[in-house]
Amino acid sequence: MDSTSKLKQVFADSLGLPLEQITDDLKYHSLPEWDSIAHMSLVAAIDDTFSITLSTDDVINLSSFAAAKEILTKYGVNF
């Protein structure tokens, strides 16, 4: 599975949303499903899936699906 599909799956599982709703403009706090509690699960799942530890600043800046991709490239994940 390529990184984009992998990340989409992580988002869908953590937020409890169908895959087709995971698009670049999906934003934090824009849907009830992506609230601050779901955000914690999402961050934990990203850490696990890509075997990384996001920094505190990146946890805060992870405010959309597009932002997540951008952040992950810093950790060597290619999209």
């Binding site: 706090h29 009830p32 609230d35 601050s36 509690i37 914690m40 934990a44 850490d47 530890t53 996001l54 920094s55 505190t56 600043d57 946890v59 805060i60």
Partner: protein
């Protein structure tokens, strides 16, 4: 403006540099609340001339209890993403604080800036001396829930010490302590819960742990502990003895001003950051008291956007010890908190500043 303050390390500004920046941000926040919260506007205009505010001392201050009796918001109802309810002492009505996306994001970011100065930038394995049940209701949080959620940002591999019925997961705790004994880790909890579970229960069960790499951050008031004759020094000494915890940081904060918390430094002083300020007022006439004199604590924060809680008169007595000169090296005002004002003395303040 407010966003500019995030560009500075939280304890890096001396008075002369901070003053104009903070005043500008505070003025903008105050104008926003005057324009968007009719009740606040009425109050502010009765209090002062809001177009002519030149010093933080002149800004109108609301008694913190006003959120118990009034629903005060400065945004449309549809913008509210969560409601924060203060724990409220037994028998008292809790405060309700309405948060929008902007306020919530500012709170998370400010808390991160402040706490990182004490624990570093890495996310650390974290023990919460609490239960996941604090998140049960997704729209409405307690102060405890907000605290746990805020600190979850700094944490990874979160471990909740308590189950829904407040029973301790001893096995999980021992596992955590073993797994992370050689790396920095974080413990977060409310002061009384930390004392009750991490110290008293473990001592009663005769369990000694090596948590020497742990940094404990706690908050929530000392009322119940003072009744048991436990002060800050006793608290630290016992946790060190039983669990080898060397780094313990208390912070002063409240549900009505989440995010811009006042962390206690290694010298035992609480610190203002670039996001906050503190004033001490004389309970007899509300005049500003000089450093070194005890009075009622007024707290100022530039973070609240969705509710007019940016300048609050607390129910606590405290003393400013100095500004920019704390031996810990952090700039800003530093202060001590003496405790709650006895109930009878409170009447004056709500009379004076009732909305």
């Amino acid at each position: 403006m407010i966003e500019d303050l995030f560009g500075y390390p939280p304890f890096s500004l001396k008075a002369a540099q901070k003053k104009p920046l903070f005043l500008e941000a505070l003025t903008a926040v105050t104008q926003h609340h005057i324009a968007n919260c009719p009740e606040y506007s009425k109050f502010a205009k009765a209090f002062c001339d809001p177009s002519n505010l030149t010093a933080v001392e002149d800004f109108p201050f609301l008694p913190v209890t006003v959120f118990k009796t009034n629903k005060l918001t400065s945004v449309n109802e549809s913008a509210v993403i969560k409601i924060l309810k203060s724990s409220g002492t037994t028998g008292q009505t809790p405060s309700a604080i309405y948060l929008d996306k902007l306020t919530s994001e500012r709170q998370t970011k400010a808390l991160a800036h402040i706490v990182q100065d004490f624990i570093g930038k890495e996310r650390l394995p974290t023990i919460f001396v609490d239960t996941k049940a604090v998140f049960k209701d997704k729209e409405s949080f307690s102060a405890r829930g907000a605290g746990v959620l805020g600190f979850a940002t700094f944490g990874k591999n979160h471990f909740y010490l308590l189950d829904e019925d407040m029973n301790m997961d001893i096995e999980g705790l021992l596992e955590f302590a073993e797994k992370y004994k050689n790396e920095p880790n974080l413990i977060f909890g409310f002061t009384y819960l930390v004392w009750l579970y991490l110290y008293k229960e473990l001592t009663a069960k005769n369990i000694k742990l090596d948590l020497s790499n742990a940094i404990l951050v706690h908050s929530g008031g000392w009322k119940k502990l003072i009744e048991q004759s436990v002060d800050n020094g006793t608290f630290k000494a016992h946790l060190k003895e039983q669990l080898s915890i060397k780094h313990v940081y208390n912070f002063y904060g409240m549900a009505e001003q989440v995010g811009s918390v006042f962390m206690e430094c290694e010298e035992g002083n609480f610190h203002t950051s670039v996001f906050s300020d503190i004033l001490i007022r004389d309970p007899a006439n509300w005049q500003i008291l000089p450093h070194g004199t005890q009075g009622i604590i007024e707290i100022l924060s530039v973070l609240p956007h969705s509710y007019p809680g940016h300048i609050l008169l607390t129910e606590d007595f405290g003393t400013i010890m100095g500004e920019d000169t704390c031996p810990c090296g952090r700039y800003g005002k530093y202060f001590r908190v003496a405790g709650r004002i006895p109930k009878a003395e409170l009447r004056g303040c709500s009379d004076t500043a009732a909305v």
